[in-house]
Symmetry: D2
Subunit: 383 residues, 4 copies
Amino acid sequence: MRKLRYAMVGGGRDAFIGAVHRKAMALDGEMEFVAGALASSAAKAIASGQDLGLASDRNHGTWEALLADELKRPEAERIDFVSVVTPNHMHFPVARAFADAGIHVVCDKPLVHTTEQARELAEVVARTGVVFGVTYNYTGYPMVREAREMVRNGAIGEVRKVIVEYNQGWLATRLEETKQKQADWRTDPARSGIAGAIGDIGSHAENLVATVTGLELESLCADLTTFVAGRRLDDDGNLLLRFTNGARGVLITSQIEVGCENDLRLRVFGSTGTLDWRQEEPNTLLHSPIDGPRRILTRGSAWLGEAARRATRLPTGHPEAFIEAFANVYLGVAAHIRAKSAGTTPLPGEADHPTLADGARGVRFIEKTVESAGSAHKWTRMD
Amino acid sequence: MRKLRYAMVGGGRDAFIGAVHRKAMALDGEMEFVAGALASSAAKAIASGQDLGLASDRNHGTWEALLADELKRPEAERIDFVSVVTPNHMHFPVARAFADAGIHVVCDKPLVHTTEQARELAEVVARTGVVFGVTYNYTGYPMVREAREMVRNGAIGEVRKVIVEYNQGWLATRLEETKQKQADWRTDPARSGIAGAIGDIGSHAENLVATVTGLELESLCADLTTFVAGRRLDDDGNLLLRFTNGARGVLITSQIEVGCENDLRLRVFGSTGTLDWRQEEPNTLLHSPIDGPRRILTRGSAWLGEAARRATRLPTGHPEAFIEAFANVYLGVAAHIRAKSAGTTPLPGEADHPTLADGARGVRFIEKTVESAGSAHKWTRMD
Amino acid sequence: MRKLRYAMVGGGRDAFIGAVHRKAMALDGEMEFVAGALASSAAKAIASGQDLGLASDRNHGTWEALLADELKRPEAERIDFVSVVTPNHMHFPVARAFADAGIHVVCDKPLVHTTEQARELAEVVARTGVVFGVTYNYTGYPMVREAREMVRNGAIGEVRKVIVEYNQGWLATRLEETKQKQADWRTDPARSGIAGAIGDIGSHAENLVATVTGLELESLCADLTTFVAGRRLDDDGNLLLRFTNGARGVLITSQIEVGCENDLRLRVFGSTGTLDWRQEEPNTLLHSPIDGPRRILTRGSAWLGEAARRATRLPTGHPEAFIEAFANVYLGVAAHIRAKSAGTTPLPGEADHPTLADGARGVRFIEKTVESAGSAHKWTRMD
Amino acid sequence: MRKLRYAMVGGGRDAFIGAVHRKAMALDGEMEFVAGALASSAAKAIASGQDLGLASDRNHGTWEALLADELKRPEAERIDFVSVVTPNHMHFPVARAFADAGIHVVCDKPLVHTTEQARELAEVVARTGVVFGVTYNYTGYPMVREAREMVRNGAIGEVRKVIVEYNQGWLATRLEETKQKQADWRTDPARSGIAGAIGDIGSHAENLVATVTGLELESLCADLTTFVAGRRLDDDGNLLLRFTNGARGVLITSQIEVGCENDLRLRVFGSTGTLDWRQEEPNTLLHSPIDGPRRILTRGSAWLGEAARRATRLPTGHPEAFIEAFANVYLGVAAHIRAKSAGTTPLPGEADHPTLADGARGVRFIEKTVESAGSAHKWTRMD
């Protein structure tokens, strides 16, 4: 199996998530990092590429130069896809340009700043037919996929209620004043968009609910707050949700909950059972059937379904974690690209990755949340 | 120390909570069960009293007969207080009559059906000067009292956010159809009041927040749902909260979350720390200071405060639980009654029990929640 | 149902466990505390009885006076049983004297100091026919009884291995120097016997294994250590066990494991399943069947067996704990006494309490452990 | 930084651990897989190398061919090290030959079959000066390194007691009959050595204790059992340990504990504190200081030491797991190799990996355990 070649835009020195993307892509030996434009400053971009051993003719100061160069190269050498891991405001121009050039794209979340941009991007992708993946990485966890399969198979009956929480505490003080890079851009509307915590982590929560339950959001009622004085975006958000099937939900997201690290938790309550998953202990999924004791499902067990099995590398008790989940998203995109290149359709379950539609729905969720929080009438319909 | 004599109204055969009250009062040997009117049907009341060994002349068919009989007895024999553990609709007439007669009262929650009734009861109590306790039993847990003391002492800075959940699943099916007694009256508006889950357990959640944080609720936005077809009251409720100090909150309550037993959890997020307590593991309290690792505080430890110490019977690792917490509420009332009888003031921390004011605030919370859930404009002010 | 009258020997001021026994007996309203000789010093005994409201003519300075007085009283007034909660060295003379006088006995553990004493006591009990219970209180937990029933029913196949641990840390420093009462007598061979931690808590571990598994110990290999300088008895012990059915075991006990509170844990590994129970979270029992995921069994659940059901007062999620387990042991003794008094045989499961045989086996376990630890050839047979 | 080139011996089709080694080496982009002899059958070896994209001239049927070929290549192309991941019996010949040829070696555990072999290997390594790493992978976990640093820094005082457990259940039935590859060779004395569970996982337990505490074992007393009929090696072992500083220990290891997955746990009890770490939740380390509540230390926290910091890739709450720990061992070896190549000494903490001495000590531990279990006098000295 040929390794897929990729370029990265963003993810240079001081970045956090770019290195995670690279490790995730390296893990299984299916992808090769060959080119990049790794920072918004050309000098930093070049230096970052040197750190990482990029060949000098594929280590660019700007993403435009990277794109131009790739298009000049013969197909046998050209990148198969680009991974866009910049701050949010650059997702749109970069992803659109590469997609427009016929290069497959993996883009970090939240996808873009506005629904308008999402629509435009969708048009480009539809036209050029490129594969487009969005790194809602938590969907790559095997036990999330098990939960999804269980809900779809009716293991918990009809979904009645969802509680999703994403609790963090790292912004409980005004960290952005220290110029810490992650805090700096995430609290800046120009780069982060109209939302703070809701955009950064609330979007993961929304996606996790949609992925696992398949439910469609009908309306929401949001309360967004900025607790840290001087901060320009929300750092805490709490939402009531209503789904089109009559289910209800609560979505909690915060970056000021002291002591919380990366506490993403999803509970799905059905008419005949309940599922409970926590990202910080990702190898287990709790299942409470209505007619028996709670069961601790563990990754790698013989009694799990096909989707979880596919996403698993190690036996039970040998924990897998964040990077492996990330890698699973990339493996889904890779399978998709390979099938596309071969002119075939991916086998069921093979191209398992969040899509442009997921990304677009996430953008709309952020817009509607901000609208609800700011309006007089708080309950806001999604359409 | 003389044992306090008490009568019970309600709590006969098939009742659940009456027996818990009696065990709680028996535990420490400070109270003596001497009289009762234990059921709404006279025959069942008498039979229940016989089961429990009540003397026949103090085993009554109606609470009115009980009250009349007690008032005829000499003081040295008369009950010190009455414990009212009937279904909700009887709290008001019974509690008012005994208070009016100058007999101290302990009443279960929710206190009464309406704010109007709560006001009338408050007038009677103010006039006669009786001690009035409300069995918000969860406030009796030592680690809840530790949390309260920590918040008041500034251990977590200014409170910014509260998440309180009360997750149950026992009404996920239409249990009331089977005539199971607990389900039957709790889902009947005539006996339970205008609210289902919100009244039954949401009121505990409200009280826990108020007790631990001391914050005043400014407004709320509620979404109440009845998931089980044919049920006449809500079985699920989710609320956004705003407090007068600017803090925000989420209150989740449900009786249809399959697999959840009695999962009451309170998280309080302050500017410099977080507290996390779960009723199902009541002997521990998690404390996350902003400048160090999470600490597992355990009941009985040398480093806890005075209020927790007072409420503790056993050394660390020898778990205490539900009944002991209940007993602590009664011990607080008893200390109050003893001081009153002696014409003294209870020492600080001695008469530690929820009061009529707590009960009245709880009734208002239920009314406003139902108002919010039913209104067009969902955010509803408490005043 | 008439309340059983009891006297207590030991358990006065500063004692810890006596108060627990009294609360346990008070809890369910089936027993009445009417007489006592509560301390080894007459003055302290009398003062302690006054604290607790004993009538002055039944509040004695010595246990001999108590016994003599009871024997003079008419049967309708006389105690039904005595509860012996003194330091260990007094168990034998007191229990023997009351049993010899035909009064039922409940005695704390370890039963006596020597197998010789245990035999003598057994002869007395056999002769007079009194009911004799030993307060191995941990066997009163509903989930321990569930485990016992599951093992007996074959739910985990043939037992292959047992790991039992009793981890404490309260004697990690030389607490006895401070004259803290609990530390003082437990580290004194004259009062505690030939063993320290092994006698105090190792005996509970032994009993828990025997109760749950029904296995017979064939031989053991012990390593006992005194870590705290100047201490006269072991404060740490680790044992390898062999059972007559070929099963193997490990028994760990310590009072110097800093930070451990009362961490008694039992794991039983069978050929088709495993059980895991921890005293500090007593309301749950983990069951791992060989062909499915781990199940969290919780007290009060509909799918538990009869023995657990009998021992349960509250619904699931409303935790019960240490005192309730203790009370269950007493309820078993009480049922036994009532049946005996009525000349009947207790119904199966009704008189569920540890017996003299359990106590005697525990004494032998301590002796053999000390023998093994001190011998050149460490593996020591039980017979 | 140039990528180190490596060859692998073993780890072909159906192998489990070889793929883990490759993923671990791929993760951080510092190593490159260039050659191999991946199975004991030449045909399977070649096919496995083709699966993994090895160049055909570096994809060998035997390890001898691989070695001969590498020695012919120019240094700029030759492998920097070999990773030996065969069944145990091949470790010795392969590792010796490569070390003898001056090629750095990483070898899986247990190192070799006998102390004699370990000595011979040590002589070769001393003579040629190659870097030799042993993949006791659990020592690569950041929180294990934190524990090691805390013990060394005196954070828990003098170590008094150690409990180490390695609980597995996958061999509770006679899995080897199905020819499952992992079970097949591990239960075959010819390939696995004189020990079963004790060799396979007990050796990890021994190493973890030695690594974290630095204590030297003085003697041990072992009970080894084969529970599954027909099996030729032990599948369960329980040991008492004595250390030269007077500390005591218990080592438990099993592969027949149903429901246990890969439950490696280490508890270290010191005079002023306790540490508790579990492999299945590797991102946390519990620390109980004698004078305060238990603290939950989490990977990535600001208050951890240098060794944990070095071994960490992701922020707190973004879990790392098994592969990352494995990768940390390889990174330590790589740093060692780079320093050696540069003629320098690795910086303190940089070449953090288990060494040949660890491996040799582990072999001796296995020998002495088997000796103790088989002898009449069970306590066996290490020297």
